[in-house]
Structure formats: structure tokens, C-alpha cells
Symmetry: D2
């Protein structure tokens, strides 16, 4: 209905006239804005904005749009990116032994809920290879030990390059990435099976049970060098009771994990998430 669109995500120090500048850039070139959402973080003095406009009727050729906008953005000291809705990002899904998040993402990709290609699955185990086969996706088994982690991460980086991957989804990948890896490839979304910052690290369901909480959660976040400390994209929770033992928490948690991860991936792929200061603005 809306045709192909361009989406601008921008953040810069707040000052007068920013909305007008951006709207004028689009309007003067014949674009029709279909979504505009702005946020000002007063304590950070920051202007944050997402604008989406139809390319049909837009006078600038695609390869000129970014250079043209840079002329506006530079004096504003802005961080910005422009995406086109017909560019299909390429995802690598990383898993260990649990299948629920992987299957859920693959189903959603087939149902067109997730606008992306998924050419690559990487795992430190072989249990889920049959799913990759079923969906016709390349599967690479890269086992990890303390000793081999460095060289295996080099292999992983090679694969990311070979498959031209834009985004890694850690869909219950039970290995910690090194800071070196993250510094080389930073577009990574992880699902953590707790309501962060409660229960970071290992065995969150066991620890939630021991603490006797009445609600458990799941958290999707960007991966940074600090374990489970990256910017949170999405969280959700479910109520539990004394009748739920650890295996029930795990079962209920699996439903949470796949919903929360899928929502975060979709928001990211729709260019609705803007990171700053270890937090996110989600223009939902």
C-alpha cells in the first residue's frame, strides 16, 4: 500500500529547527512522509528522530540521497542512517541445542513477519542441523572450547563475510562472545532468559526458582563487550507460582523467549530502534 520507503534514523544535539530541516529535505525533494516520530532526551540534550517516507515520487536517485543528507547532517554533528524498505537484510542465526527460538524465527520469516533472508545457521553443536536441512539453510558446526575460541571466532567472522551477514541473532547460543569478536562485528541481538538486570549470566531459571520470584521474564538486547549489559530492546514477563518447579519455569520461559526475541528482531529490521548511551529508543 505504501510502496517502497526510505527510513531515516537520526540523533544529534538538540537545537531549534531540526524537525523542519528534516521535513523540508524530504518535502522539497518530493517525498511523502508516512511516519514521523521524535523524542527529546532533555537530560542528555539529545534529539532523536525516525522519519519514513515514500520513494515513489521522490526526486533524488537512491545513491544521491545519503550524500545530499550528509550536507544537512554534518553541521548538526548528527549520527544517522538511511535504510530502504526493499533492501532485504541477511541474518545469521546462532544456536546451541535448543530449537524453540530458531524454529520460531524461521516460521516468522516464512510467514513474512520478519523481513529478512536467513542464509546461515551457526552452532557449537550438531543437534539442530536437521532443521537447517529442512529449511534449506546452510549449517556450520563450529564447536568451541576455551582453547579454540579465538581461532573459531576467526572462522565465524569469515563465514559472516562470506555470507554477507548484516545481523547475528543469538537464538539461545550458550557461548559468550569475546570483546574482540564484538569489536569486529557489532550488529548482534541476544535473547537472555531472565528479566535483566535480575539473574544475568548462567542458570537464571534455577536462580529465579531459588529466590522464589512470582514473575519471570526474558530480555532481548544488543550484545556488547559486557555480558548481558548491552542496550535492552524488549522485555516481557509471565506470572509463576509455587506450583511451578524449575522445569515449569523453563517451559514458560521458552514461550517468552521466542516472543521477546521475535519482537526485538522485527523492530530492529524495521529500523525502529535507535541506540544511545547504552539504552534504546524504540519508535514502535
Amino acid at each position: 500500500m505504501t510502496g517502497v520507503t526510505a527510513t531515516l534514523l537520526i540523533s544529534c544535539p538538540d537545537r531549534k529547527g531540526l524537525v523542519a530541516k528534516i521535513a523540508n529535505f524530504i518535502y522539497s525533494n518530493g517525498g511523502n512522509i508516512i511516519h514521523a516520530d521524535q523524542h527529546t532526551d532533555f537530560s542528555a540534550g539529545l534529539f532523536l528522530n525516525r522519519v519514513e517516507w515514500q520513494l515513489d515520487g521522490f526526486n533524488l536517485p537512491r545513491d544521491v540521497i545519503s550524500p545530499a543528507f550528509e550536507a544537512i547532517a554534518k553541521p548538526l554533528e548528527a549520527k544517522w542512517e538511511i535504510h530502504f524498505s526493499d533492501t532485504v537484510p541477511r541474518l545469521a542465526i546462532w544456536v546451541s541445542k535448543q530449537d524453540h527460538c530458531l524454529l520460531d524465527l524461521l516460521w516468522r520469516q516464512q510467514a513474512k513477519e520478519i523481513p529478512a533472508e536467513i542464509p546461515l545457521i551457526i552452532s557449537n553443536h550438531t543437534q539442530l542441523k536437521y532443521i537447517a536441512d529442512q529449511f534449506g539453510i546452510d549449517f556450520h558446526h563450529i564447536p568451541i572450547t576455551k582453547e579454540t575460541k579465538a581461532e573459531q571466532e576467526a572462522k565465524q567472522l569469515e563465514l559472516l563475510e562470506k555470507y554477507q551477514i548484516d545481523l547475528i541473532i543469538l537464538a539461545k547460543y550458550m557461548q559468550i562472545l569475546t570483546p574482540e569478536f564484538v569489536s569486529k562485528f557489532s550488529q548482534i541481538i541476544n535473547i537472555h532468559h531472565s528479566f535483566l538486570p535480575a539473574f544475568p549470566g548462567a542458570n537464571p531459571y534455577q536462580r529465579a526458582y531459588s529466590r522464589g520470584v512470582k514473575i519471570i521474564g526474558a530480555t532481548a538486547h544488543y550484545v556488547t563487550a559486557d555480558l548481558d549489559e548491552g542496550p535492552i530492546i524488549e522485555q516481557d514477563v509471565v506470572r509463576v507460582s509455587h506450583r511451578d518447579d524449575v522445569s515449569d519455569l523453563i517451559r514458560k520461559g521458552k514461550d517468552l523467549e521466542r516472543l521477546v526475541l521475535a519482537r526485538a528482531v522485527r523492530l530492529h529490521l524495521q529500523n525502529r530502534v535507535l541506540e544511545y548511551d547504552n539504552r534504546t529508543v524504540v519508535f514502535a
Copy 2:
């Protein structure tokens, strides 16, 4: 922190350049936009927008802002309103015998969560007069019977005028307003004790119990001539079980009612709600 602001709520047929037009109006007069949120309803072909900007540094005197903007809005066939954040709206709260929504609104007004004055309470009963006294608010007892409804509504309208009321809150007022009344005073928010459109009309909790639902709700909506059919502003729900009899539903519902009503009133008073086509856009 943000000082006094002006807020524009506008809807008009969609066309190119609307965001730019509005942003330029504000920027060219020296205003700083602190909040801008836009929605396009493609099926209705409608552009809907909320823009808030700081008046500090804005070059137009207040009484000139609206005429100046009218020059822009008229050719767009727009419906629009501009509000100033230091104009304090005046509310009348209407009640019958239940105190929970009334008390909740009064507490929130004192806690400055609801930016309004509350000079008037109207009731068809006398039970809650003591609360009005406690808070130093005028209380008018206007009993209603089928026979007297017309003349009593005339009295109510007089009071609204006398007290210069901007908004009526039906905080568990157990009488139906006539279409005539609503046509004369249309700024009315009601709390209905069900998840509309389930269980409109009388005794929703009893009917929810009889139907055996597992979740109950409450709905805040603008009042129109059609009972419980007006545009919905806010809804929320709570889980119930077989252990909950009707009195438990009523008790749990009371917590919902006061939360949902308070949220709707606050959203309305912050000029975040735009009505069209018997629905609302809530720029929250």
C-alpha cells in the same frame, strides 16, 4: 524543565509536505519542538499529528497563534486545536454511590498527576458529599428520575456553565445521559466496568461471572449519544479464576476502573488524544 508549551492536535486529508508546513510554522516563529508524533491512517486517507513546542522564545503572541495557524490550516481542510500547558482545565466529577474513582482522581489531582482544577462534584445521591467537604469542593445533589431527567439535566448544564467546566468525568455515575445533553456538552469521559464491547450496559460483572470469563476489564471512553459506544481512550484487564465470585470481580474491577479512568483523564488533559471516526489516536 521544558517551560510553558503549546500543543497542536491536527487531522486533515493526507498530502505531501504536511510535516514540513507545520514544522516551518513553528521554526520560522522561533519555536523549539520538544515532541512530534505523526500517524497516517491510510484506509481513511488521513494525516494526524501532535506537535508540542516551547513558548519561551516563540515570537508570536498567544492571541495571534491561532489566527496565524488558521491561515495554514484552512486550505488543508484541517480540524485542529492548540492548547497551552499553563491553561488549567476545570473538571466536574459526577458520581453516584461508589467512592473509589472519585477518591483516586482527587488524590492524583493533589499529587499533581492530573493537571486540572476540580471545583465541582455532582451526584444523584448524597453518600459522597462528605468527601467533597473534606476536599473543599462544591457538591451538588441532583437526584434523577425518569420524569425529572430533562429538567435536572437543565440544572446540570447551568452548573457546568456557572463553574466554567471544560470536562466532565463520569466516575461511576450510574445514570445514562440523554442525547440532548451530550449534544449540548460533549467533552465527557466515562469509565465502564467491562472490557468493551463485551458486556455493555448494566451489571457487567454479574454477566462476566455468568459467562465464565477468565479475564475482566475496564474501559474509559468518550461519551456519545450511543450508550457505551463512544471512542475508546484506554482499556486494561485483570485475570480472574473460578475462585472469584461476583464480589471478587467487583473488588478486582474497582482497581482496574480507577487506573484506567485516571490514565484516560491524564492523556486527555495532556492533549494526547485525537478523536476521529469513532476511534482515538493516543499520542502517548
Copy 3:
């Protein structure tokens, strides 16, 4: 951990000593109760109970348990059933064109979240046959028209008998069963894509959108002769906003539908649901 268990579900007119009678029956025969949950509906004068005990050490042979208990239950005018946890019920899943509930149930069955066999899938369309093939389940295509419904329902009943089906799951089966069918096979769970009793019947998402609700829901219920009027087992909801058009409601609703249906099926299969008076007690 708990070994094989027996579960008694019982309802009868309330009177003194019922808990003691049932507990004594189990204890005097050497059983260990691991779960006992009771509810009294005072307005209906009804005692409702679920008791689960370990068969290990229980002195009565399985085929004697029911006759023995009947001696106790008869004078109480009780309705009751006893189930053994190692009896695996057989499900038929009925679908039309949408795959999300089907896939979800099949995945949960493989993950052992749903303790049942699924030997049969029936559909009035052929689109989902490939899924049945993938999981190695028999698929029967039984198209329905107004004219053929009666004879096709006869075929369906034959299949249910042939496959010894205990429970039908209508997993987005977009046909209405006739009262005749339901009177012949009454163990049927349906997922309806609205928060009943709001939006029964066709196109609930379209109607939810038109009404401008702020929350949508899904409802799993037993099927009776009255469309969407059967006893509710489970419901859940999700928040929506003006940004969600009908296709977004459908997408968000799909997640609700599969969660709500899966929970209802699991509760039923664990013998936690007791029907009476067009409502359910869920001993969760």
C-alpha cells in the same frame, strides 16, 4: 519423579465429609496424594475437587479402582472421572489454511509439553498437507460445502472412530460444526480469535479494528451446539494501538492464539479442567 499417577476429577452436591471420604479411599488403599485442590461453588451448592495420587504402592488393581470408587460416588450423586497419567490420549487436529496453531501444537508435542499422540490431521483445504507429511501424520482432506456438510461430517466421525480419537483440536478450522456432530462427539477444544464474548463469529480482528479497541484477545473453549458460547478454558490479551492496522492485529493475534490454545490443550490433557454449568474450574 512422581511416577505413574491417578487423577480424580469429581463434582457433587456439597455436604460435610467429602474431602475426608475421598482422602480415606486413597489412603486406606495405600495411595500417596501429591496434589489436592478443592473448590466450593456456594451459589450452585456444588463441591468440585481434583485429587492426584501415586499408583506406586496403591493396593487396588487399575481395573478395580473405578468400580471401587463408584461405591463411594453413587450415594453422593457425583459426576466423576479417573485418569491414569500413562494413558496417552489421541488427538485429531483440524485446520483450514493457517499453519501457526498447527505447527505450534506439533512442536510442543515433540517437545513433550503436550502429553498426547497426534495421529490425524483433518482439513477442508490442502494447503497444510505438507506439514502433515513432514511430521509423518495422516492427513485427510475433507472439503465442506453447505450441501455436503452432513455427509462430510459422517466421514469425519468415521475417521475419529478409526483413529480412536479422544479429543479434537480446532486449530483455526474455519467451519462451524453442526449441533448433530457435537452431540455425537463432544470432546472438542476450539481457539477463537477474540476476547469472548466480544466479537463472536466471523472477522473478529476487522471488527476489533473498527471498534477501536486498545486490547485484543484470544479464547480457548469447549465447543457446544451454540457458536462461540461454550465453556471458556483460557483467555489472554495483548495491547494494540492506533499504529496497528488489521494486518497487525492478525499478526499479534496469531501469537495469542497459539499460546492460548496450547495452554488450554495442556490443561485439559493434565485433567485440570472441570466443566459445569457452561463454565470451567481450572485446577492449575
Copy 4:
């Protein structure tokens, strides 16, 4: 409707025949059980039970019930308590400067949602004295400094004795009780303004904002010697977004705090909460 009832809360090592023993004790003395709920914690090997029965028709005089039951409980090595529904517990509410939880509890007590007397309010500040006056409740101002804490706690204990207090509610009391105090008076419920174990201690809303969480929570728990580490009774959460600054989190959190605290107090006063092993079973 149910008349005066007795409620037994009991926990003991699991063994066969426990439900029967307890039910027989009640039945053989002419009691009618109206609520029975049992839980077995297999990992702890523990049987936990709540049974409520009508005293009307029960043959044992009240002062004989406990000694009679002790004869049964002793060989089971059980921890147990029996409460009568017409014994009205006496609460002391402790506050600092914030009024929302206090007002909410007082309103619920008047609305008969909380079955208790509230003869005493203690505060380390004087701001809320006017509320105590309004409700006709004794108010004691006991300021606390590091130096005076020991002697002031002695005064507090005197007041608890003088007013025959059964339960302390810390309704936003911004002081930490010493382990000595807790060892002398252990029936204490606190509301903590975070989703524990996330953000224990001071300034949870500020820390939740800094971490960029998408959901905030509140937790009601019994107070132990370890700060914010006691058994959790109830928790709830609310969604937040980038639009919510710290003051919004505080405002939204206040609604959570009063709901969660009120639910926990009601559950406790209905004798539905059983503590063991730093966790709770809530027979709701």
C-alpha cells in the same frame, strides 16, 4: 455466607495419609471444609496445606481445637497455625513522607477489603500526621538517626506491645530495620519499589532508568535481617518506554506499589501465605 471459619496452615515432611488425617480431624468433629488446597514440594520433601472449615456445627470449643490438633501434628513434626475468621488482626502502618500506600490501605480497610484494625501509624517524619488525624488513628513521630536508631527501635517495640500489634506494614518506610528489631518482631511486610532481585536497596527507579529497562516492577515481601532478601509474597510490573523519564517511572511505580502491597496484605490476612525456606506458597 460462609459464617465464621477456622483456617489451618500446615507444613511437615511428606508422607502418606496426611490429607486424610487432617480431613478426618475436621469431619469427625462435625466441620464442613469449604476450601482445601495442598502443595507438595518434592525437592524439599515437604507437604504444605491450607484447609478452611465452617465453625458452625463444629463440635470442639475454640480453646480445645489447638490442643486437639497438636496431638495429630506432633508426631508429624509439623509447623502449623490455626486462625479464626472473626479474630481481627491489628496493624501498624509505618511511613515516611509518601502518602499513596498509606491512603490506599486506609481506604481499603474502610471498604472492608482488608480485614483488620489499624490503630497505629508510626513515621520518622511528620508530613503524614494529618492523614492519621483525618482517619482518627494514633500517630507517633519517631525520628531516626544513625546514633538514635537503637533507642528509637526500643520505643517502637514498646508501641507495638502497647497497641497489641500483630503485623507491621512498611508502606514506603524509608529506614532499614536492624536485625535485632526483626528478631524481636518478625511479622513485617515491606513494599519494595522494584522487581526484586533487580535493583535492591536505594533509588531503584533511577537505576532502572539508567539501565534502560522496558518494564518496571514492585515487590511485597516479608522482612528478614537481610535487606530486600525476604520471602516474596507478590510482584507485579508495568511497561515503560523511552518517553518515560525518572519522574514517570516514579509515578507509574506508585500505582504498582499500592496494588502489590494491598494484595500481599490481604493474602496474608486471609491466612493464604505459608513461608518456608525463604519462599512462600500463596494459596490464592
